[in-house]
Assembly symmetry: C2
C-alpha cells in the first residue's frame, strides 16, 4: 500500500492497465471523479441523459440489458458521445458465472459488451475462473475488470473473508483486474507479506448521495466526502442526478451533474 | 427436513409454488430429472438441440444473452417446443445486482426473461433485496427462483456461512424461492430451531458428467448417482450431451440425452 495519498495524476503515470490509465487521465483532465449510472429503460432517455451529463463525468455506467428498444445504433451513438464528451464506458454487467459462460456473455449475444465497454465488473464468487474467462476476451482489447469486493445493500454477503478472497484474486490477476466496486480502499487487504509489490486498485463506489439516505429496495447512501476519505476513487451516482420522474429536465440534470462533480472533486482536493 | 426420502410425486402434490409444482410433475410424467443446458451462440443450433433433447428432459436451461442472432422469434419457438415436448424453461441468468436493477433486468430489455422463463436464478450476495426485487416481477407470474448456494468451480467463495446465509434467505422467502443451484440437499442448512416448518427445496446440480472429470476453465464433474445420493433433484448436463464440435449430430445428441435421462432416473429409483 502506498504510504501516503497519491494523486490521480501520479497514479495515471504508472498504471500498467490501459483502461485504468485512461480513466485516471480522464479524471485529471476533466477534474471529475464522477460516474453517472444511467438506469433507464428507453433508448431516447438513455442517450439524452448521457449527452447532458457527459461533460461532467469521467465515466458512464450502463445497464444495456434493461433497455427495451436496444439495438446496435445505441452503441454507435454511445461511442460517439464518449469521444465528444471525453468519458469512458462501464457496463455494470456483474458477471457471475463460470469461465466459459462469462467469456461468451462478454463477447457475444446481442450486446457484445467487450467490443465497446472499456470497463466491466464481475462477482468473485465463482472463483478465479471467472477472471480467466473474462480476461481471455477483454485483455487483448485493452479492457479492465472490477471485482465486487463489497456491496452497499443491506445484508450483503460480500464481507469479511469473502472480501479478502476477492482482493487476493485481483492481486493474482493485476494485468486485467484494475480495482473494485467497494466502499473503501482495498489496497493491502488480505495481503500476503511476501508480496512487496504496491497495490494500486481503483475503487468505484455506488450508494453515494448528497440528499437521501436510502431507498425501499435496500440501497444505502453516503456522501462523496465520506467515501473519498475511506479511500474510494470514483463516486457513482444515478437517480440523484436525473431524478425519479418519467421525464428528463435538462437544466436540472445538468445542475445536479455539476453539483456532484464539484462535490466529488472538492472531497478529493481536501485529501491532497 | 423430511425424515425420509420423499418421491418427486409426493413433493409435487404439496409444493405451494406453481413453478416448482410444475417441474416436479413434469419429472414424474416424463421419468426424467434431466435438465439440458444449451450453451450455444447461434439461433439455429439452439433451437435444433432443444428440439432433439426435448423429449428426454424436464427442463431446458438457457443463456439467451449469448445468442448472437437473438430476436423475439426465438422465444416464440422456444415456448412452442416447451409445450410440444413438455418441459419447463430455466434462464440461467444468475442475477446479482440490487433490487431495483434486477427487477428491470428480469422484466425488461430485449430478453424480457420473466415473460417466458418459468424458473430463473440469482446469487444471494447482495442480500435479501435481490429476492424482493425479483419477486416483485416473478411472483405475480407464477415464476420460481433458485439461489446459488454453492458453485461447482474451483475456488468458489459460496461456502460455509455464505451457503448458510443463502439458505436462510430462501427460507424467509419460501413463496418465491423454490430451491438452489447446489451440490447437495440444502434442507435444514443454517436452520433456526424455532422454525418447525419442513423445508422442501429443489436442488439443481450442474457439473454432472458420465465421462469427463473437468475442463480447462475450472468446471468439475460428478456422476448422477453421486449427486442424487447427496440430495440433488435435477441433474444439469451441457456439452456432455451435444458435444463440443461446431456441428450437431442428431443421432448422437438423442442417444446421449436418453443415456443421461436413464442414468438420472436410475439413480433416483435406487433411493426410493
Amino acid at each position: 500500500m502506498p504510504d501516503k495519498f497519491t494523486s490521480y495524476e501520479e497514479r495515471a503515470k504508472r498504471h500498467p492497465n490501459p483502461a485504468a490509465k485512461a480513466l485516471l487521465e480522464t479524471i485529471v483532465r476533466k477534474k471529475s471523479n464522477l460516474c453517472v449510472s444511467v438506469d433507464v429503460t428507453g433508448k431516447a432517455d438513455f442517450l439524452n441523459i448521457i449527452d447532458i451529463v457527459g461533460p461532467y463525468v469521467c465515466l458512464i455506467k450502463t445497464h444495456v440489458d434493461i433497455i427495451e428498444d436496444f439495438d446496435a445504433s445505441i452503441i454507435d451513438r454511445l461511442q460517439e458521445l464518449s469521444k465528444q464528451h471525453d468519458f469512458l464506458i462501464f457496463e455494470d454487467r456483474k458477471f457471475a458465472d463460470i469461465g466459459n459462460t462469462v467469456a461468451l456473455q462478454y463477447s457475444s449475444g446481442v450486446h457484445k459488451i467487450a467490443s465497446w465497454s472499456h470497463i466491466t465488473n464481475a462477482h468473485p464468487v465463482p472463483g478465479p475462473s471467472i477472471i480467466t474467462g473474462l480476461s481471455s476476451v477483454g485483455k487483448p482489447l485493452g479492457r479492465g475488470l472490477l471485482l465486487l469486493a463489497e456491496m452497499s445493500t443491506k445484508g450483503s454477503l460480500a464481507t469479511g473473508s469473502y472480501t479478502e478472497e476477492a482482493v487476493k484474486m485481483a492481486r493474482a490477476h493485476r494485468d486485467f483486474v484494475i480495482g473494485f466496486i467497494a466502499q473503501r480502499s482495498m489496497n493491502g487487504v488480505g495481503k500476503d507479506t511476501a508480496d512487496t509489490t504496491d497495490d494500486d486498485f481503483l475503487v468505484l463506489t455506488p450508494g453515494v448521495g448528497l440528499d437521501s439516505k436510502g431507498d425501499a429496495m435496500g440501497q444505502q447512501y453516503r456522501t462523496p466526502e465520506e467515501v473519498l476519505r475511506d479511500g474510494c476513487d470514483v463516486i457513482i451516482v444515478g437517480r440523484g442526478i436525473y431524478g425519479k420522474g418519467p421525464s428528463v429536465d435538462i437544466q436540472s440534470v445538468r445542475e445536479q451533474a455539476e453539483r456532484y462533480r464539484s462535490a466529488g472533486w472538492s472531497a478529493y482536493e481536501k485529501l491532497l
